[in-house]
Symmetry: C2
Subunit: 357 residues, 2 copies
């Protein structure tokens, strides 16, 4: 019997299942750094520590020991299924008859790192930059497509002393597709506890990362709040329709709100010269989403849009007006169709089809 | 203080950190199904169970209780950072001053499910099919790009009684981009223990999935072995060069191996009529990668290529020959440049640039 066991990143995130499986094993096999991490749990057992890159021999030894009748624990950091020992063992195992394998999942680096940084995940990709057995062209393609799909990306094995090219390609792709301000969270586990930092991609340099780092690449909605990296997941804040807003959208539904600038208005330009006024009152208020600049007035529970001008930009208004008109049939839809409207907002912000919600 | 705690999928994969944080909390808040899962751990504490979809009120109550001075545990299934409570809480938290939050990572469904199915992960994406607040067009784009990038995909929230359209779109995209035989692992956690199955996308129907399922979509290399879903991660099997192979590649390097069919050979067609013979002996032998059809002869430790014909197909040979010639400078490179050669094999198999390894 071979127990393939993920031990997470530290004692705090080892699982009960992993602990029990370690206890029940006779022989413990793993990369020495990981074995040292669980030293107090394996006293009196046969311990086989191996160097890095020695995965095949670790798997072979595990199989041999299990053939001899021992219960074997093959130790992986994080989760054994994510760039860990599980794949290698299954590939080698097919050489033999009757090898029994059980994989014990663990907390993977993407989860550990994201939770330390704040709440940056939404739909995400996890990609290793190790090009020892994976072509650069394949790694680059995966990064490119993930960025274009607006996935959050967790980068494993970002760099090593001899492997710098994948990291350079990664930085170049992010700059090219996302621009200079794309947010990067860095979790460096050479420190205990792990050290976190957040930078814009234009400021990310090679000396900031090493083999023990995991990077989290933000998407087009990710922002920083009190030092935490956040990607809004979206939620509905129930709220009444303000009388001014009601009045505006009654005119809107009657076709009495012109498209574009409304320079005759006493308040023009209330935000900035050149602003469009179709959505004088934001139809998504309160969106609760700081990614476009809005924020709560602390202690008052009032959503403040002062720093959000998206709803008044020509691009925003042009994307929004036609599909919005299809959704809003009566003013109360601002409240009753809030989910639909928030999806429309998201589709327009991310340049997706606003008619396919 | 609010502890946002991931409790994994079952008692086996709860972490020590989560257990300690639950113990230290006065008030326990969560979706009732998850609270029931930890009932024995929270006796004597104030317990607030909420219905599904009530995330906002759960977050608000957590903040209010922490303002009253209590240590609060906000419970998430899996990892709180993956479609869990962390994002929502951080969004709501910005309404208030001085809310202290700590997130305790957990084993996420992608890890739990993959490890039950075998070892299907490599670079992967995790995508939720819930279109309650995410436009269909956005979900579809993420799936499309992830499939095109050859990422493994973990599908969260695949379907519900009222939300079937995202699942239909997903199936259609997989059929369109990967073809009928793309492998899908299903982990259904309505059962205890979770029930696993593996099907081809052409056979995946709506009645096979429900809200408690996680799906794992294989990539172009994923295969099934003894009922387990495996994606090869790649590894090097050290091996000597067979004398016949040495002879062949000496001729090859001298320019004496013609391109294409070698009908004059006594053994033609040793595999199938129309085969190309440039790589009469496979330069990657033994690759140890069953994704193209090879397998170990059990008990003998011999790699058998009988079912792998890729190296003799016109497409394979045409993709491989020119870049291979740039790598192989002497016959011993078959051994000495094995990593480089395995990357070339992978680039050709996956239609990536074979000159950019």
């Amino acid at each position: 019997m071979i127990n393939v066991i993920g031990i997470g990143q530290n004692r705090d995130n080892i699982t009960l299942g992993a602990l029990k499986a370690i206890e029940e094993s006779d022989v413990i096999i793993g990369y020495k750094k990981y074995i040292n991490q669980i030293e107090d749990l394996i006293e009196g057992k046969e311990i086989i520590k191996k160097g890095m890159g020695d995965e095949i021999s670790r798997a072979e030894i595990a199989i041999n020991k299990s053939k001899e009748g021992y219960t074997v624990a093959l130790i992986s950091s994080g989760d054994p299924g994510v760039f860990g020992m599980a794949n290698v063992l299954y590939q080698i195992e097919s050489k033999y008859d009757d090898v029994e394998i059980k994989v014990y999942p663990g907390v993977s680096s993407v989860n550990y790192s994201a939770d330390l940084l704040g709440a940056p995940l939404n739909d995400f990709a996890a990609i290793s930059l190790s090009n020892i057995l994976t072509p650069l062209s394949e790694i680059e393609k995966k990064i490119e497509y993930s960025l274009k799909a607006n996935l959050i990306i967790a980068i494993y094995n970002p760099i090593s002393k001899t492997r710098k090219e994948p990291f350079r390609r990664f930085v170049k792709k992010v700059l090219e597709i996302k621009g200079e301000e794309c947010l990067i969270g860095i979790v460096d586990s050479t420190y205990t506890p792990s050290k976190t930092s957040i930078v814009e991609i234009k400021d990310l340099t090679e000396d900031m990362v090493n083999m023990s780092c995991t990077l989290i690449v933000g998407n087009d909605l990710t922002y920083v709040q009190n030092g935490k990296l956040i990607t809004p997941r979206g939620y509905v804040i129930r709220s009444d329709i303000h009388p001014f807003s009601r009045e505006h959208y009654e005119l809107f539904l009657n076709g009495d709100i012109a498209h574009g600038e409304r320079r005759e208005c006493d308040f023009y330009p209330c935000h900035y010269d050149g602003q469009y006024c179709d959505f004088c009152y934001c139809p998504f208020y309160p969106c609760g989403d700081s990614s476009t600049g809005g924020s709560w007035i602390k202690g008052k529970g009032v959503w403040n849009c002062k720093e959000c001008t998206w709803i008044h930009t020509p691009e925003g208004v042009n994307a929004l007006r036609a599909p919005f008109t299809e959704i809003l049939e009566e003013v109360d839809d601002l409240k009753n169709k809030k989910k639909q409207l928030l999806k429309l907002r998201r589709a327009c912000l991310l340049n997706n089809n606003p008619y396919d919600l």
